[in-house]
Symmetry: C2
Subunit: 200 residues, 2 copies
DNA sequence: GTGGTTCTATAACGACGTTTCAAATCAATG
DNA sequence: CATTGATTTGAAACGTCGTTATAGAACCAC
């Protein structure tokens, strides 16, 4: 019937893999359609037949970032202590960011200002946030924290995201001090929220 | 001796002004050398004779962002209460971000991944961070907080930056709830840090 | 008016994302 | 086995970007 297809699933995975490598090794500016195609031994057209456009490819890498994060979250066991569980979510967030810094940048930085995640992708991203809301919610349920779980989760996320950004930028001192700062920050915020009621 | 100069200080200011307007109205992608020159009624060359290159212009807008922030910080009066002063710095940070969202994006987001601030500009930026370190330092001095002022400032900055990012992205609920979340987060972090010692 | 000097706007360059389109390839058909 | 037809691919072209080279415009001194 037709010419045999080479723009197939194999090439698709190869492009995603090589794209991630390009991003990690040389930064977002190096991720161009031409360069990527050359590295993968194909032509720029492949990106368009397999991903629609450049942002289609970026979208999949974006999702992969959240997939890996979700994996870590899912691996967390729910202990009997909601406060410890909440803490574990924060640690998982940080660990994931340090394990996949280029994907973290893709997820929460904006290395491609023109890229906006698709609706389905945004839903996936929001889903992982749901784990955080659930964690604060359980703290509220057992009376450890007070207030709206979503607002509490937002505050925690703000803190964790802020510290992670600073750490990846290298603005946190030595690794040991970074660990200490993280521990203290998380614990302080939690203890503070326990003591500071919703009516300020 | 020569042709009269039109690439002068007046045009320079006009370009900066028009650049800010472009950024605020249509986002970073719209800030191109050609478009800017056309808006300012000149040619692309003007950007190069006055700013070296595109990033020279962006660098000046970046500095303007920190200049405005420093202005707000300088306007804060030092009360007898270091805790209140620390709180005021956080509020000034938020207020500045809301008053100049496109400059905030320039300062702490990375709308132009290729742009790296010059050394002198980074020094200006770090200078404003010094005000925060000073605020935490005074809290330490009078025994309100414990630990290294720089680490404390980093924790506070992480929190404030995180919440500001979320607010500008529209991830914080209604304005009233945002206010409440901010108040509670700031107070909780402060009270938590008071109670959680450096030895965790 | 002419020459020399200084400055500007135009046009070109390479790279980008994207699109168009002809060449390439194989199954089905005669 | 040759031809047709459907389908996919890669090369070339388009418009845009930041940037640069350059031709010529605009002034002063003579």
């Amino acid at each position: 019937m037709a010419r045999p297809r080479t723009h197939d699933e194999t090439l698709r995975l190869r492009l995603l893999d090589e794209g991630g490598r390009l991003l990690a090794e040389q930064g977002p500016a190096a991720l161009t359609v031409r360069r990527l195609a050359e590295r993968a031994g194909t032509s720029p057209s492949a990106v368009y037949s397999l991903f629609g456009d450049k942002w289609g490819l970026v979208d999949e890498m974006f999702r992969e970032g959240f997939r890996r994060f979700a994996e870590r979250i899912a691996a967390l066991e729910r202990t009997g202590n909601p406060a410890a569980d909440l803490n574990a979510v924060g640690e998982a967030f940080r660990a994931n960011a340090r394990a996949n810094p280029h994907l973290y940048d893709l997820m929460f930085g904006e290395p491609f200002p023109e890229f906006v995640p698709g609706q389905e992708t945004r839903a996936v991203a929001m889903g992982t946030f749901g784990a955080l809301v659930e964690a604060t919610g359980r703290c509220v349920d057992v009376g450890l924290l007070e207030g709206d779980p979503l607002t509490l989760a937002t505050i925690f996320f703000g803190m964790v995201h802020g510290l992670t950004s600073l750490e990846l930028l290298g603005w946190l001192p030595s690794p040991e001090q970074a660990d200490a700062a993280w521990r203290r920050a998380r614990l302080a915020l939690y203890e503070g929220l326990r003591r500071v009621s919703t009516e300020v």
